[in-house]
Structure formats: C-alpha cells, structure tokens
C-alpha cells in the first residue's frame, strides 16, 4: 500500500534534513565559540604585547667609574662651601673617569661619543654626593652611574648589533667600549627604583612615573570629594523624595544623556568654563578633578539609584511604622543598606576617571612637567597623559617606559576593580 511506503519516505527525508540541520547547528555553535575565543585572544595579545615590552623597563644598566674629585676643578677657592661645590662642573669629572679608562681616545667627536656612554644625569649624582659630603673633594672613589638610554637599549637587545652601523643609534666603537667595560665587570643590571620615584624627564633613563602618579592621586581626590556627595544626594533625592513630574523626568533624561556624552566634550566644557571664564590655573589637578567629576557624576548616580531601588520597600515601611521621619528612614536605614552598592559604583566610576585622558588634554595637563606637584593648583600631569606623552616620544627607550607605565596604571585599575568585586561579594544581600 502506498500509505505503508510514505512514512518510510518521510522518515528518510527527515533523517536527511536532520543531518543537514545538525551540521548547521554545529556550525553555528562553532561560530559562537570562535567569536568568544577571538575576543579572548585579542585580550591576551593586548596584555602579552604590553607585558613583554614592559618587563625590561624595571631593570636598568649601571656603569662603574672611578671618579676623581679634583679639588682644582670643583673647589678652586678651597673653602668647601656647599654653594661653591654645587657650582662645580661634574660632567668633567665623569668625562675624566671615562678618559682614564680609554686613554687612546682622541678627537672631539670621539670623546663626545665616549662621554655619551653614561647618562647625562651622572654629573648630578656626583654633585649630590659631594655637596652632601664635602670631604670627598680631593679623593677618588668608584661610583655606579646610569648608562645612557641608547646603551641600555643595546645591552637589553632592543638595538640589534647585526644591523649596519649607520642604521642604529650606537656606533661600533661605542659597542666595543661598552663590551670592554662589561668584561671588566663595570656594567651591571639593577632594579630600576628611579622609575617609581622621579618625575618626567627628557632623558628616558631618568624618567619616572611618580610625578604623574601624584598628579593622578590629587585629581582623583578632587573628583571623589565632589562627585561622591553630589552623586549620592542626587540619587537619594531622585529615588526617595522626588515627586514624579516633568522636572524630575528632565533631570533623569539629562543624567542618562550625560553618561553617553563623549569625554572630550567635557574637556571642551572645562576649557571654556573653568579656564577661559573662571580663570582657574591651567594644567592644575583642581581643574582636572572638576572636569572629571562632572564626567563621573552620572556614572555614580546611575548605579547608586539601582542600589537604592534594590532596598525592599518593607524596610522603609517598617521604619515608618516605628515612627521614623522621612530623613531618618533614609539616613538610618535605606542608605546604610544601599551603601555597599553605591560604593561599588563609585569605585568603578573612579577607575574610569583614573584611565581618562582626552578631557585632560583639553585643559593643559599635557605639559612637560618635571617637578612633583605638591598642591592642587601646581601644574601636573596624570598617568594616562604621561603614557600618551611617552608614546609620542621618538626615543626607543620610551617604548618600554610607556609599557611599564601602562602596567602600573592597569595594576591600579585591577586593584580598584578587585576591591569593588570583593565589596560586592562580601556585602551582597538577597532580599
């Protein structure tokens, strides 16, 4: 019978189409896994490429030289007066020490090439030592001084010895000298503590992130002091007190919109209002903090409102039932219960503010600043802007410095986010 064969045919057709459909299913799933895998690969490549570049920045090469503190040269009057000593030409001392090691070097350009083996900061190091201890004058000692950044790059392998001499920044002769010094045990790689202690410098080997870190701390302090109280009060008002009307709707629309305004627009606002109109100082952490707090406010208000919403109405009703006033209900019961959530949102908002660069470029925090800022109105820069400045510098040595500064910035960010996660897990309540 025909009807006996038809189910068979249908089964065959279904079995056939099932194979196709299962293949499509596997394909689709593979595409999904591939997409996630690709995203994670990008993350890994990003971190690896920066980490691999960065780790060498934490070590730096030092060169030992036998310095002779010639009394004639440093203290011609013989008074050992610190001011007099500070004026001496210590670069000549460094050059003399190098000359002594390689007496065969003649001619101005060769001597200059020899002198450029060590950092131009070497003279200052000697000056500090002598001013601190004037009895050194007239004696000689072995002092470790920083190698020049090009030499450092050569020793770290970032400048290849195989390329022709004209194509690299270190000459064959300099390589021969530094190898000779190395054989004598005068070259050593040491932990780069200076990187964490000093401000910016034009010389890569002298540059550090401490100035930018302090600037970031001041800026974030201003941001926190302004945006946390304002953000919490706005969230409290909108969630707990505000009537539902056009005015509060307008406020809400504004907050949501501000959260999506490009950060550079806030920089333009800061430039026009804080600098050009109110005449606040350029490059100051105070202005940076003001701009960043306007930017961070909506990012604090939105999670704070969510945290307040999560507190169940029964808490409020119980408090009202016991005779608490509206403010007592909010400040004694609702706010403490919502505080962990509010703090989590605040930490995340602060993390975003810490990584923000573009608005700060607008208000002049991009200047080259060597000194560590000590007040809120001193010219300063911040970590991300420092990264931007170093990334723009042509010297090869700044590449590893930039990467190392990025590692430090990411370290701070990870710490802050970890704190937020721990806070959330510790205090999370299921109602």
């Amino acid at each position: 019978m025909a009807s006996g064969r038809n189910p068979n045919l249908t089964t065959q057709a279904v079995a056939k189409s099932l194979r196709r459909r299962y293949r499509a299913e596997r394909r689709f799933k593979a595409v999904c896994i591939g997409a996630l895998g690709l995203a994670l690969t990008f993350l890994a490549v990003l971190f690896l490429s920066i980490g691999l570049e960065a780790y060498t920045a934490f070590w730096q090469h030092w060169i030992a030289l036998d310095m002779t503190y010639d009394a004639e040269l440093l203290d011609p009057t013989g008074t050992r007066n610190p001011e007099e000593l500070a004026r001496g030409n210590y670069n000549l001392v460094v050059r003399g020490a190098l000359q002594e090691l390689f007496p065969e070097v003649e001619g101005r350009s060769d001597r200059r090439a020899l002198a450029s083996l060590v950092s131009s900061g070497a003279g200052y190091r000697l000056q500090e030592r002598v001013v601190e201890d004037p009895s050194l004058v007239g004696t000689s000692e072995r002092v470790w001084v920083l190698a020049d950044d090009d030499i450092d790059m050569l020793l770290k392998g970032h400048i290849s010895r195989d390329v022709p001499e004209g194509a690299r920044r270190v000459s064959d002769q300099q390589i021969a000298w530094i190898d000779h010094l190395g054989e004598e045990g005068r070259v050593e790689s040491r932990f780069n503590a200076r990187f964490f202690r000093s401000g910016d410098s034009r010389e890569p080997e002298l540059a550090g992130i401490w100035g930018a870190a302090v600037g970031s701390a001041y800026t974030l302090l201003v941001t926190l002091l302004l945006s946390f109280p304002l953000g919490v009060s706005a969230a409290l008002y909108l969630e707990e007190f505000a009537p539902r009307n056009r005015w509060t709707d307008l406020i809400e629309v504004n907050i949501n919109n501000l959260a999506a305004v490009p950060s550079i627009v806030f920089g333009l606002l800061g430039l026009a209002v804080f600098l050009n109109f109110l005449h606040l100082p350029r490059s100051a952490p105070l202005v940076g903090g003001l701009v960043l707090s306007l930017m961070t406010l909506p990012r604090i208000i939105i999670p704070a409102r969510a945290a307040l919403q999560a507190v169940p109405p029964s808490i409020r009703e119980a408090a009202y039932g016991l005779g608490a006033s509206p403010m007592q209900v909010v400040f004694h019961h609702v706010l403490p219960l919502a505080l962990p959530g509010i703090l989590t949102g605040t930490i995340i908002g602060m993390g975003q503010a810490l990584g923000e660069t573009a608005p700060l470029l607008m208000i002049g925090m991009v200047a080259f600043i060597v000194d560590i800022p000590s007040t809120l109105t001193d010219p300063a820069t911040v970590l991300p802007v420092q990264i931007y400045l170093w990334a723009d510098s042509p010297e090869r040595a700044f590449v590893e410095k930039t990467s190392a500064a990025i590692l430090c910035l990411l370290g701070f960010l990870i710490l802050m986010n970890l704190a937020a996660v721990v806070l959330r897990q510790r205090t999370e309540k299921k109602w």
Partner: protein, 459 residues
C-alpha cells in the same frame, strides 16, 4: 589657603552651634519628651541657619572676586592701556596677575605692569580678609538668630528635614547645569567661529586645512574649514570598528547566554569585561605600536601599500575596545527573552541554533539595535585611539588602508598647546565639539527610542 581656614572655622563654629542649640532646647523643658522634636534637631537647625547663608556668600564671593578685581585694576590703569581692545587688555591683566603671584611673565616688566601687579596684590589680600571676616560674621549672626528663636514649640524637625530635602534636590540639578554648561559653552564659541567662517562652508566644504594667517600676505594664509572630510574619516573608522565589534560581540553574547555552562559564563563574562576597563590610551598605544606595523607589514607582503596610520588599524583596535560594550548589552537583551519562547520552539522540534536565529534573535532585535547604536555613538566620540593611531591630515577617501583623520583628532590637535582664543583655528574646535555633541545626542535619543518603541512586551 584662606578658604581652607574659613572652612575649618565654619566647621568648629557649627559644632559649637549644634551643642548650644541642643542645650538650649533641653534647658527649656524638664524632659526631652516635652519638646516638639528630638533635641538634636534644634542643634542642626542652628547649624543650617549659620552655614547655609555663609556658604552661599562664600561661593558667590569666590566667583565674583576676580571680575570685581579686574574692574578695579582697570579703573586704576593709565588711559592708553585701559583703552586697549578687550583681548589685549585681558593679556595685560593676565601678566599683571602672574607678576603678582610670582610667575613667569610673557612681556617686559615696566612701571605700569608693576603698578598693576601691586594693585592686584593689595586688593587681593584686602578682599581675602574681607571675605573671611564677612563669612564668619554672617555665620555667627545666623546662628545667634536661630539660637534666640528656639522655643519648645519650634517644629525643628520639619524645618530641618525640609532644608535637607532642598539640599539633596540641589545636588540633583547639577546634571542639568552640566548639560546647559556644555551646550552654552560650545554654542557661544561656535557662534564666534561661524562669524569668521560661514556655516555652509563648515557643513558642506570638502576641504579641511585649519590655518589662519598671521599676516594677510602670508603663504598658505587661506584656511579651509570644511568638515566633510573629518566626518567621512570618523564614519570610516567607526564603520571598521563596528565591523569588528558587532559580529564578535554579538556571537560571544549568544554563546554566553545560550550555550555556555554557568561556570564558563561566570569566568568568560568578567574576563571579557576587562577589555572594557582598559583605558583608551592603552588601546591607542597598542594600535600605534603593534597593530599598525603588523598591518603595514602584512600589506607589504602581499604587495599593498598600507599607511602606517591606516584607518584599518585605528578602527580595528577601536572595535576590540567596543566588543564588551556590544556583548554585554546584547547579553542582557537575549537573557530578557522569556524561557517559554525557547521551550515552545524546542517543543516544535527546532534545534538550538534554529531557535536562536528564528525566535530569540528577532525577539531581541530592538534591544540589540539600540545597543549597537549606543556603541556607534561611543566609537564616534572615542578620542585617544584615533589621536595616537589615525592620521592628522584630512583625506576624503573610502580606502581603509589610507590615513584619515577624525573629528576628535582635530579637536585635540587644534587645542593642544594653543592659548589664543580668538582665531578661527581654535574656535573651530568648539564648532567640531558642538557637532560631535549633537551627533552623539541624536544617536542616543534614537537608540533609546528604538528600544522603547519596538520592544516586545512579555508578561
């Protein structure tokens, strides 16, 4: 700083005021029960009366002092300087202020300048003293007034709470003031720009070379301010970014919400969100140092010439940055599709991928489109990646291998290191900013509208 001293004084005075108010309220009655409010409210009442007016005075004083000082100094200047045009006068006053505070001065120090600086110093210290004195006096006066009005029937709680609510409400208006500030400051400077450059040239011009002549006969003195190449560059870079971010983000979200075991999801989601937390300057460095040379090398290997500032590198890295944005927004919408739809689909014999493609994706589409629009607005406003990895010169092209420049790049390059605020060059940055603000605003509004209007309502 004297402001800090004033603040500290206010703090101490208010602590004393609180105690005094509380003590007076308690002394009026035999037992605290007989008072209208809790005793502490009387103390807070005294503080509010003292601190609120004084804070208002302090803030307005700080805001107005520079303006009044300028006027007073100008009044004391010799005729020929006071009659200078406003911008030059502003420079002169700026120098006088710098000299007064011991900073570097950009002109030769002559007698008039020294006199003006001295006047700034004298008036400044006088004003600071007057400020401190009047603020402290006003605080004390307000507190005394409040203290004397305390009686057992005073409804301190109601008044204090109303004041607190008002303070909280003031905090919430800051968002409105910020928006007004953004719009006004951008508009104000942009209007000044459009007085120099016609609006039509800015909106429809095909050439962008922002120079202004120092002298009329200078070579290359004619600047061109046509924003079309910048917009084209911005959209090219954003398009590349979305072509990277949308498929990867969307498929990752589908995997995490539909296929992945809860434990995989619990790890993958936060790891992916690390990408969102990385500062954009890091992406910029990554794009300029790693990705751009990679593309260039790859292009050379197959015989293509790829610019080292190609739109492809900047857009690609921007796409990586936006992946978590797309994926977490899509993840939320996909998970919001009710389980009953999936089960009905499985019950009819559909495979999982058929369910996703034919049931879940259409149901989640409005939310996904809204999320993508928000991501586009982010890509357009993104600054650091393009500043570090895209080109500086304008280039009207659709070729992703060439260097293009974007709106944000031009804003940054126009404003870095330039302090003169009356040239078309710097004002152009504000016009571009206004355009950027407007575009992102429209995108956000449309995105919200799409989500609200086309959202399927499930019980």
């Amino acid at each position: 700083m004297s402001i800090w001293i004033i603040a500290a004084t206010l703090l101490v005075v208010s602590a004393l005021g609180y105690r005094a108010g509380r003590a007076k309220a308690l002394s009026l009655v035999g037992h605290a029960r007989e008072l209208n409010s809790l005793p502490g409210y009387y103390g807070s009442w005294v503080i509010l009366w003292g601190v609120l007016p004084a804070t208002l005075l302090l803030l307005s004083w700080v805001a107005l002092q520079p303006i009044v000082l300028d006027q007073l100094v100008v009044a004391g200047l010799p005729q020929e300087i006071a009659a200078l045009e406003p911008s030059r006068l502003g420079l002169f006053l700026n120098d006088a202020q710098n000299l007064a505070s011991g900073n570097i001065v950009s002109r030769e120090v002559d007698e008039t300048l020294t006199a003006a600086a001295a006047r700034y110093r004298d008036l400044g210290s006088l004003a600071s003293a007057a400020r401190a004195g009047s603020v402290v006096l006003l605080t004390l006066a307000g507190m005394t007034l409040a203290y004397r009005r305390i009686n057992r029937r005073l409804r301190a709680m109601v008044k204090v709470e109303r004041a607190f609510e008002l303070i909280l409400a003031t905090g919430s208006t800051i968002a409105i003031f910020t928006t007004i500030g953004i719009v006004l400051s951008l508009l104000f400077e942009a209007i000044r720009f459009f007085r120099l450059v016609p609006l039509t040239e800015f909106l429809f011009g095909l050439e962008w070379s922002p120079q202004t002549a120092l002298r009329a006969d200078q070579v290359g003195s004619s600047g061109a301010f046509g924003a079309i190449p910048l917009l084209a560059g911005t959209f090219l870079v954003s398009l590349i970014a979305m072509m990277v971010a949308v498929p990867i983000g969307l498929f990752s979200a589908i995997y995490m919400s539909e296929y992945a075991a809860p434990r995989v999801r619990a790890v993958a989601k936060p790891v992916l969100e690390i990408l969102a937390g990385v500062p954009t300057v890091v992406y910029g460095f990554f794009a300029a140092l790693t990705v751009a040379p990679l593309f260039r090398g790859a292009g050379e290997a197959i015989g293509l010439s790829v610019s080292s500032e190609s739109a492809l590198a900047a857009g690609g890295v921007m796409g990586i940055m936006i992946i978590p944005f797309v994926s977490s927004l899509s993840d939320d919408v996909i998970r919001a599709v009710p389980q009953s739809l999936r089960e009905a689909s499985y019950g009819l014999g559909a495979t999982q991928s058929e369910t996703i493609r034919k049931i879940i994706f259409p149901a989640a589409l409005p939310g996904i489109v809204g999320g993508i629009l928000l991501a586009v607005s982010r890509a357009i406003g993104e600054t650091m990646i393009v500043v570090m990895a895209a080109g500086l010169a304008s280039n009207l092209t659709a070729n992703p291998l060439e260097a293009v420049t974007t709106v944000t790049v031009q804003i940054v390059t126009l404003l870095i290191g330039d302090q003169e605020f009356d040239s078309a060059k710097t004002l152009a940055a504000f016009a571009l900013g206004l355009m950027l603000f407007f575009i992102t605003l429209v995108l956000n509004v449309v995105a919200l509208h799409v989500v609200r209007r086309y959202r399927e309502q499930y019980e």
